[in-house]
């Protein structure tokens, strides 16, 4: 008695609908847009990268969160992990072809936002002053 889970209502004809409660696409969207997911994917668009360099690119991420984020992205097929059994170990992460498509769309959003921050900041100030002490 599975509910038809992902019968699309908004965009028609796609089997997956992120707006539907239990659609797996929602999980993937969260992996990709999550706090660290978006930055990780975005950072990897600059090229393959080792664990600790990635950590440096994504300022503020902890080892644990980066590790966790990378696992989720690897599982979804967004990121490829290449480990060399050398000593000390060397592991490179890179975007898959799918991941690159995702990254491009994400970066389009990110760059747009970066370029709109002046406007955002103005909006914030007027919002805040409009309801001053509250």
């Amino acid at each position: 008695m599975e509910t038809p889970v992902c019968t699309d209502a908004t965009t028609a004809d796609l089997p997956f609908d992120v707006f539907a409660r239990a659609c797996p696409s929602r999980e993937t969207l969260e992996h990709v847009t999550g706090r660290w997911g978006s930055l990780t994917v975005g950072a990897l668009r600059d090229g393959p990268c080792r664990f600790n360099e990635l950590r440096r690119r994504v300022e503020g991420v902890s080892e644990k969160m980066l590790s966790q984020t990378l696992h989720a992205l690897e599982r979804d097929g967004i990121v490829h992990r290449e480990a060399q059994p050398t000593n000390p170990p060397r592991v490179d992460y890179e975007l898959t072809p799918l991941g690159r498509e995702v990254a491009d769309r994400l970066l389009s959003l990110i760059h747009f936002l970066e370029g709109s921050m002046d406007e955002v900041l103005v909006s914030r100030r007027s919002y805040d002053t409009a309801r001053g002490g509250r």
Copy 2:
């Protein structure tokens, strides 16, 4: 290589860099890509919408979270709130021009992911079986 907070290192010449620790663009990105933020913005791209209808479009969101999400988006200038002092009250939410630009980029990502879920699901299965019980 210090940290003048928002000196862009990756894309050059933009004053805001989401990869930098304390850049305000990171907050906005989180509002927009957050668990409910992305779905709310995406849902509003279908047109202005009252509170409870929005709740229905974004399956699974609670009143509290939707309210909170909308406030953050309104403050950032992504969403406009239009309240009529009637009884019962009627409040319409809609995207600002800025919000529409954001929504378009977000939906591009969302639709791409929805269309890639078969691939994602295959990747998940092989990842899971590759490390079976563990």
